[in-house]
């Protein structure tokens, strides 16, 4: 961070020559510490008392292993070390603070915690003091050999399953609660057990971020990027398989499948919003309303006993109609408002989002026509039944594994996300997508280049709404209810945050952003009242450290990190009128 830059400069000038031994010593100390007890408090579980590293200690240990880079002369190692050590230090500090907080005082920290803190600090200092300042390591390719394609494909498949593995571990962190079937939303008293288990999610997130960052700086991300680009079809296939396999890893745990399905809905909507915001650059703050239109329509025509309409359309038709009606709403709202730009558009869409919520809240028969049951919403949506008689509401046993009924909805969700992602990717790389980006970059120039800006902006708005409508229809079936509470401004803001945090203009970004944004508040519940505060702090930190988002599009990464010369990149140099006759 730039705030620390003067400190780092001083470290470099004082310690530069001995940085490697110092850093190595620190990392070694940290390694030893992970085998010592970190807590003296007997009632403190969380794998802190014994001498076998687990939980946060294991995470720190993994990051300490990067210290071998002090003695290996590979390109990018200084920056990788700085990344790994700062994340190791952050996790250590957080854990020490947490043991102190949960146990009632820092006195509860065991000898391991203090040794670890000292080690992490020295590790960090050593890494920062390194005199080598190499840029990002270049992408490397495997040596050309007959086995290369096979190994590359293997790597791509392994990558997909590694992501699945990380997701499963991350999702499974508060194991104790899920196993005992306690729903966090309902659970009243928070035990110490919850605290330690869930507190590790943040540490886990830091570990993943730190490790990915360090590996990326060693050139691994760029090299993998080359390979995945070459075998993009394999990546898609492996990704789908990994996603489909996920229910088998959950040993019949319906709760986590439900969370995964919700992440899917959230991600699909985020990808749709990414068209509007990421590609066309239209700030839509009321996007959740389109999602709501889809959800309400699906709820009303799917045979719910609480629906005022006594119809039960087949699901295939419902999803198409929901998408189309939502798209129509997009056009209706877009046509008059898209003349506005920037902040004004944001305010108007914000207003429309609220109008939708308030309207469905009032269409209860007393304040308005009876349609939506007001605040109660349309509930008891029956389980989906496929034409063959396959009901989504029943548990199944597949390959000898018990699958709770939530797995069916999860798979439906995987299909939805795959469809939405394909649509997005193909549109982004087409004539239409380029026109959207051109409009975002310079609307006047886009018009002068032959782009019908009004029409294309409306198209972006309508398509975003269509995808949101489809996602909403599926969501109504997953949660079995459509109620006004689910379509608040906060939801629109969260979706927007997912797009920006993940990286504007990419599907991977929207997916990752949606996952993090959905899981983080879930996993931070142990903080109770402080939950949203910490959530906010994490978001601010991410945007401070990585303004282009977690997985930015190539264009956006360059936008933030390539010296464009002038602030706006295109202003005329001084002496603009050098050609004026004198």
């Amino acid at each position: 961070m730039s705030v620390l830059a003067p400190l780092h400069d001083r470290l470099r000038s004082r310690l530069g020559p001995v940085a490697s031994p110092v850093g190595l010593a620190g990392a070694l100390l940290l390694l030893i510490a992970t085998f010592l007890p970190w807590s003296t408090y007997a009632g403190f579980p969380g794998k802190m008392l014994n001498t076998v590293p687990g939980g946060a200690r294991l995470y720190v240990l993994l990051l300490a292993l990067f210290a071998v880079l002090f003695v290996l002369a590979v390109p990018g190692r200084a920056r990788a070390l700085r990344g790994a050590s700062s994340f190791a230090l952050t996790i250590t500090i957080l854990t020490v603070l947490f043991i102190g907080y949960a146990g009632g005082g820092l006195v509860n920290c065991g000898v391991g915690a203090w040794v670890g803190l000292a080690g992490a600090l020295v590790y960090y200092v050593g890494a920062q003091a390194l005199l080598v300042d190499d840029g990002p390591a270049p992408a490397r390719e495997l040596p050309a050999a007959p086995w290369r394609p096979a190994v590359e494909i293997l790597l791509v498949v392994a990558l997909a399953f590694l992501v699945l593995f990380v997701f499963v571990i991350g999702l499974g962190i508060p194991t104790a609660n899920i196993a005992s079937g306690v729903d966090h939303k309902l659970g009243g008293a928070v035990s110490l057990n919850d605290l330690t288990n869930e507190s590790q999610f943040l540490s886990f997130l830091l570990l993943v971020t730190g490790a990915v960052l360090a590996l990326a700086r060693l050139g691994l991300a760029a090299s993998l990027g080359l390979v995945t680009k070459k075998h993009s079809k394999v990546l898609v296939g492996a990704g789908l398989v990994a996603a489909a396999v996920f229910p088998f890893t959950q040993s019949g745990n319906g709760y986590s499948l439900r969370i995964a399905a919700s992440i899917g809905v959230f991600a699909a909507a985020a990808v749709g919003l990414n068209i509007v915001v990421g590609l066309a650059g239209l700030l839509d703050l009321g996007y959740i309303a389109f999602f709501g239109v889809g959800a309400y329509f699906a709820a009303l025509v799917s045979g719910s006993v609480t629906s005022v309409l006594d119809v039960h359309l087949p699901f295939g038709l419902v999803i198409v109609l929901s998408a189309l009606i939502s798209g129509l709403f997009g056009v209706l709202l877009g046509a008059p408002t898209l003349r506005l730009r920037g902040d004004y558009l944001a305010i108007v869409t914000l207003g429309f989002g609220e109008i939708f919520r308030i309207t469905v809240n009032n269409l209860d028969g007393s304040a308005g026509p009876s349609l939506t049951n007001g605040p109660n919403g349309v509930s008891n949506i029956p389980d989906l039944v496929l034409p063959g008689g396959f009901s989504f509401g029943t548990n199944h046993t597949l390959f000898g594994v018990d699958l709770p009924f939530q797995a069916n909805y999860y798979w439906l969700e995987v299909i939805l996300v795959a469809v939405v992602m394909t649509a997005f990717l193909r549109l982004a790389e087409s004539r239409i997508g380029r026109a959207w980006v051109a409009i975002r970059e310079d609307e006047l120039a886009a018009a002068a280049t032959g782009i019908n800006t009004t029409r294309l902006k409306l198209l972006a708005f309508a398509l975003g709404a269509t995808l949101a409508g489809a996602a909403g229809a599926v969501d109504a079936h997953v949660v079995k209810v459509a109620a006004p509470d689910s379509f608040t401004f906060l939801e629109s803001a969260l979706l927007l945050a997912a797009v920006i945090l993940g990286g504007m203009g990419t599907v991977q970004g929207a997916l990752l952003g949606a996952t993090v944004l959905y899981l983080l508040p879930e996993k931070l519940r142990f903080l109770q009242d402080l939950r949203l505060l910490v959530f906010g702090i994490v978001l601010v930190l991410i945007m401070r450290l990585r303004p282009e988002g977690l997985v930015p599009s190539k264009r956006r990464a360059r936008e933030f990190h390539e010296a464009g010369g002038h602030a706006d990149g295109l202003s005329a140099p001084p002496g603009h009128h050098a050609g004026v006759p004198s």
Binding site: T422, A423, R426, L427, S430, R431, I432, G433, R434, A435, V437, A438, E441, D442, L444, A445, A446, A447, A448, T449, G450, I451, N452, T453, L459, L463, R555, R556, R558, E559, E562, A563, G564, G565, D568, G569, L570, S571, A572, P573, G575, H576, H577, A578, G579, V580, P581
Partner: protein, 259 residues
């Protein structure tokens, strides 16, 4: 020689200010016409009236005999392309992408064919890219096609803007100060480029302050002063005209004349 552009009595008023006062301009097939005049003479406003960025308060603009629409994308589609005085590229797109966007009005793929990716879609994409590569090579930017527009040197940005305009298959190209801010070498290169564009059978109207550039390049020069066309004619005639000199340098007062 058939006419490409026929602007008659084009007038643009902003409230009480008349920026362009009943200006006529005719451009023949393959002709290069210069538009000069002191700052604030209404040259760019006149361009904006031609390209649909401003709607003229009065007057008619015909392109190959048909009235030009007053919406910029339709003007471009009709065959009139332009560049801007202060370069307006898509800064965060690559040079190649900038030019491919220029093909927008000449291609058709809609949402369904973009998602479906049928053979027709792929052929159209391939053709767009080939055309864009060819144009980049034509303006001399073949080697930097994957650079971001904003990271190109100033002179290259101007060339890129011309390549993007050419990608729309124009019959008439309007250049707004193509050499502004350029050094003599770049100016000379731009002159060669404009000639090459002319050789492609495209008529050109250019606004320019570099008189050597204008008089060495244009078949005809029109002078705009305070929104009105002062005169029009071959370079030599315009250059020699006292009124033009007066418009740029002012009329000498009696005392100065004798000094």
């Amino acid at each position: 020689m058939s006419t490409v552009l026929e602007a008659t009595a084009v007038t643009k008023r902003f409230g009480g200010l008349t920026a362009v006062k009943s200006v006529d301009l005719t451009v023949g097939e393959g002709e290069v016409v210069g538009l000069i005049g002191p700052n604030g003479a209404g040259k760019t406003t006149f361009f904006n009236c031609l390209t649909g960025l401003e709607t003229p308060s009065a007057g008619t603009v015909l392109y190959r005999g048909n009235a030009l629409p007053t919406r910029p994308d339709l003007v471009t589609k009709a065959g009139v392309a332009r560049t801007f005085q202060n370069i307006r590229l898509f800064p965060n797109m690559t040079a190649l992408e900038n030019v491919i966007v220029g093909r927008h009005s000449r291609t058709k793929a809609g949402v369904l064919s973009a998602v479906g990716r049928g053979p027709r879609y792929r052929r159209e994409e391939r053709e767009s890219e080939e055309k864009a590569r060819e144009l980049l090579a034509f303006v001399g930017l073949g080697k930097v096609r994957n650079e971001l527009a904003k990271s190109l040197p100033y002179g290259d940005q101007r060339r890129l803007e011309i390549a993007r305009a050419l990608a729309t298959d124009p019959g008439l190209l309007l250049l707004d100060e193509p050499t502004a801010g350029m050094n003599p070498k770049e100016t000379a290169e731009t002159k060669t480029l404009v000639r090459a564009v002319q050789d492609r059978g495209i008529a050109i109207v250019l606004i320019e302050h570099d008189m050597r550039f204008v008089f060495g390049l244009c078949d005809r020069v029109a002078v705009l002063v305070q929104g009105e066309k002062l005169m029009e004619g071959p370079p030599a005639q315009v250059q020699a005209d006292e009124r033009v000199v007066a418009a740029y340098l002012g009329t000498p007062t009696e005392g100065e004349e004798s000094a």
